[in-house]
Every structure is written in C-alpha cells, then in structure tokens.
Symmetry: C2
Subunit: 293 residues, 2 copies
Amino acid sequence: MELIDGKKVASDIKLEIADEVEKIKQNGGKIPHLAAVLVGHDGASETYVANKIKACELVGVKSTLIRFEDTVSQDELLDKVEELNQHNDIDGFIVQLPLPDHISEQRVIEAIDPKKDVDGFHPVNVGRMVIGLPAFISATPAGILELMKRYNIDPSAKNCVIIGRSNIVGRPLSILLSQKREQGNATVTVCHTRTKNLKEVCTKADIIIVALGSPEFLQADMVKEGAVVIDVGTSRVKSDKTKSGWKLKGDVNFEEVAPKCSFITPVPGGVGPMTIVSLLRNTLLAAGKKIYN
Amino acid sequence: MELIDGKKVASDIKLEIADEVEKIKQNGGKIPHLAAVLVGHDGASETYVANKIKACELVGVKSTLIRFEDTVSQDELLDKVEELNQHNDIDGFIVQLPLPDHISEQRVIEAIDPKKDVDGFHPVNVGRMVIGLPAFISATPAGILELMKRYNIDPSAKNCVIIGRSNIVGRPLSILLSQKREQGNATVTVCHTRTKNLKEVCTKADIIIVALGSPEFLQADMVKEGAVVIDVGTSRVKSDKTKSGWKLKGDVNFEEVAPKCSFITPVPGGVGPMTIVSLLRNTLLAAGKKIYN
C-alpha cells in the first residue's frame, strides 16, 4: 500500500508555480492577480480564504481580499462582481461560498465573467468542460486528476466508481475521468444515495472515489484487493484526543481499508491540499489567457 | 417483451403540442416560430430539415427555412445567426449539422443566443443542464427520457449502462439519468471504446442504452433477462430486400436481443421519431419563455 501524499505533491507544485511566476516577472510580464470576495465571518470560510491568500503570497501571485459584512445586499455584491469583471489588473477571482440566505449563489456565480471564473463554477465553464473545450476545471476534480497523474495512476480502461454526484466534485470528476483525454478513458459509474447495490458495484472497482461527506462510509468489505481509493470527505467529528476537541474524518474507514489498497489518500493531507494548488493553476491560466483568448 | 412504439408516442405528443398551439392562438398569443438554417445539399441533412419543417406545419408551429450554398463563408453564417438572435418573431432556431469543413461548428454553436438554442448544444445550456438549472435539453436524450416516461419505465435506483459517450447522446443522457430528478436517480455507468469488461458490465444492467452507431453491436449474451434496451443507433446498411438498396440498422441485434427484454425500442420507429418531438417541445418552451425569462 502506498500513501498518496497530497501535502507533499501540493508543496512540490507550489514550487513549480513559484518558478513560473518568477519567470513571468523576469520577462517583464504582468504578475498574475487573484481576488477573493469573502462575505461574513463564517469560521471555515475565513480559514479557506486565508489559506488561499497565503498560498498566493508563497508563490508570488498578487492577491486582493475583498470583505463584506453578511448584511451586504445582493445588488451590492453583484456590483462588486461586475467591477472585478472589468478590473484590468485582476486576472481571476472567486466568491467564497456559502453566501448568506438572502443572496442567490447561482445569480452571483452567473454574474462572474467566465474568463475570470477560476473556481470553474459558471455554467459556461461547466458546459465547455463537458463538451471537451478548454475550460476552468473546478479545484477538487482538477486536484484529484493531478494527484493521480503524479502517482502514475492511469484511469484508462479501469473501472472507476464515484460515490457522490455533487456539482463540484462527483459530477465533474465522473465526466473528466470518462472523456477521451489524458487521465480519462475510464469506465465510470456514478453512485449516490439511491444506489441499491453499492457494495457489489464498489467491489468491482479498480478506482473508488468517495465524495459524500459521510465519515468512514467506505468499509473494507466494499473494496477489492489492490484498488486505488481517493477520499474527498472532510467532516469534523468530536474527538477527545485533540486539543481543539474535534478532528477531520474522511469518507473512508482508513485503518481497515488502507491495507487492501494499492494507493490511498489520507484525510487530512490527501486531496485537501491540492484544491488550493488547482486555484493557483487556474489563476495562472487566466493570467496567460490559456483558456480563453 | 413489449415493443416501445416511438412512432405512436411521437404522433400522440404531436397532437398534444398541436392542442397547446391551438390554445395559444385562441388566447390571442404569438404563434411559436422555429427557424432552421441548412447549409449545402447533404442528402441526410435535407431529409432531417424537411421533416422538422413538416412537423412544425403539422402542429401549427410557424417555421422558416434559411438555405445557404456550401460555399457560404463562416462570417456570412455568423451574421445570419446574429440576425436570428435579434429577430423578434423567431423564438428558437437550429443550424443543421454537419457544416462544411471551412466553417467551425463550435464557433457557430457558440454564436447562437442560448435563449434560442432549441438544439441545446450551446455550452450555456449544457452547463445549466449539468448543474440542474432550467436548460434546453438536446433532442435525443430528451426524447429517450420521454419515451421511458410514457412506458412507465422508472430508472430510479436501477443499474443503467450507456454505451457511447458522445456530447449529444451518451454524455447528456448519463448525466440526466443519474441526477436527483424525475426520470433520474439511476446508477449510471458510461461505457465506450476503451471499456474492457463490457459484457460483464452490460449483463448487470437493468437498462441498457446503446448509442454507438455500430450496427448490431449489442448481442443477446450481453443482456440479462428482463432488461430494458434502448437503441439509439441508425446506420444505413446495404440490403437486397429493399427497393432503395439499403435499410436502417440499429446498434442492437434486435432479433436475438428482443426476446430477453422487458421493453425494447425498434429501429426504425423507436427513438428516431422522438427527436423531432423534442425539438417542437423546446420551441414551445422558448416561445413561452419557460427556460429563460
């Protein structure tokens, strides 16, 4: 069993990105610039955005944080999105989700210029990805494909089971993995809450990707010997073994499943660290006009 | 075994649509109006477009046929698309594919206003469909879902295998069937040329949808007893039994497979007739501003 070290891969890629940014600077190019919009003071969102800004600093990407109180109106937020769409120096930006209930997340996402939508949530980017056109791919699917690539896990002709059909992980990943492309050509089955014979489906899988948010959902008897297991879940569960009183749990019963696997991602330190790297990568693509001209 | 009579269902639905159009007229509403752009004189395209126009006439939908020689330049075609986008009376339009080699189909598709894209090929409609937002669904997937609905075939919790990953059939169908929606919630596996254990995968399926364009690809030993089989293939093969010298063949070895099925679509007369109905339905949705306001 080999542990997929997302933390190490992410830190390697950050060095690669830092090199690319350094080269842009040396060639007198414009420094890539990411903006992040944060509404309110949700603890998790604060942490995510802070980590994104920190990662930008680390690799030399310029960043701007724009804060609103959670009393901001939808129109004010949409005005800011439009301002960022027009902003000459900002190459890409994200609006950290979730947003307060009185604001339509979908309205905000659709207001973002697809050319600056480095989260890849805009319908234009989703549609282009599905069709096979250049598109910003959302962070978690892109991170998982990159992790697999770095560990020489080729999904081509493999049976791949994805548990979870969310718009930001399961769905796009299922499409990408089954397309005729590098890190594609897998035979992909999407499972979800309504799947009846999940155990039977999973035991046939060469690669299992679990993205449910249900701690320790995947048990050893659902995994065949030698399978690759990618754990996207990150749930906070109470723990009396940590100072904070809680710890992160994945969707996989790691202790029992890991011995059966050829490769497995831990939680934390597996898929998680890759998401910020995907965002940085998309920011560079946006700055270089590599997706849209 | 019950034969799914697409011809009959399509003709029933045309009557329903004719009723709807009649009601619009009686209420003094604007008559729905579809335009079709046909480039060149490809035999199959001529037939498809003629059938679409004929179907419009039958149900009382206004139609306009716009013809170009295959020497038309891309810019001329894009100008026409823009004109149709702006045209006040035309609710929706299609550009019949394929286009001549010197014209980028993708450029033309992306030039169509998504609000008038009744073929559902624009990335915005594809993306919205994937996300679960209201969208124009392309004709073949929509027709198949409607056929299944009319025969009370509920895919929920069923194992559904789709053979073929094209952007206009296999891919959108795989997404729609596995979404949390009416005629959804299936456990869907997408198979393709790179799938290794196709026979094994197919024999587990409650529903098999074949969209490869490979005559008689699906054989009896790939189908479990009682399965539903939907045949999307339409290949012209030579025949000494018809006057024309050729006949249409599906992707299913019908004679051998049919006896094992609970339901099966024939070719011709199965999925084929439903596609025009889907187009008419989308035209009404466009005219009624049911997808976009």
